[in-house]
């Protein structure tokens, strides 16, 4: 059996990579991908814990997270399309107009 803490470590690593990606990368699509990574680290946690407790809640939560994240990404892409149509760039820095 794979011990529980392996999963947790995996989750932490994914979380950190995701967070770092969001903070460091400047391409919006990459940022969105990093976000997915972030949220998937959560899923791994949920499923690992659910398995550990032999409880279905963890899996349900993970499914909810996947579903809702999908919606979120859909919205994000929609907004991105609107933005790109107004100004064709995918760089985070190019987007910024408001400051202060």
């Amino acid at each position: 059996m794979v011990p529980l803490w392996w999963y947790i470590v995996l989750g932490v690593v994914l979380f950190v990579i995701g967070a770092a990606g969001v903070l460091i990368r400047r391409n919006i699509l990459v940022v969105l991908m990093s976000l997915e990574l972030l949220l998937n680290s959560v899923n791994i946690n949920f499923i690992a814990f659910g398995h550990y407790y032999d409880d279905f809640r963890g899996q349900i939560f993970a499914i909810f997270v996947i579903a809702i994240t999908a919606a979120e990404v859909a919205v994000a892409l929609g907004i991105l399309v609107a933005l790109v149509r107004n100004k064709s760039t995918l760089k985070v820095d190019d987007v910024t107009m408001m400051k202060g």
Partner: protein, 121 residues
Amino acid sequence: MTAMEFLPVLVMVAGVVLVAGATLFVSSLLRPSNPYPEKNMPYECGMDAAGEAAAGRFRVPFFILAILLVVFDVETMFLFPWAVVLKDIGLVGYVEMFVFILLLLVGFAYAWLKGALEWEQ
């Protein structure tokens, strides 16, 4: 055992990649390589390439489609487990999923009415 169920998957992936790699390797030994700029130009029915290839990447209908896919794919994710246990959870489960599908149908109907499914404007 879960491991025994998914081990073959691993083996299969390894096998396919191996075979593909081997084929590529063999091919690379056999084939000629003689590139020159004209040959390396993207194919455009023999004409010189005009404009950016990426221009087509942001056609909105594709995005709408992607978004719709996401919505319905996720619905499928809920439907599969539900379908497996439907007989056990009975009427309540059926009603709940019915509500769920209904909500999705509303979204679907909206997209339809809104013209998101029309490919040509």
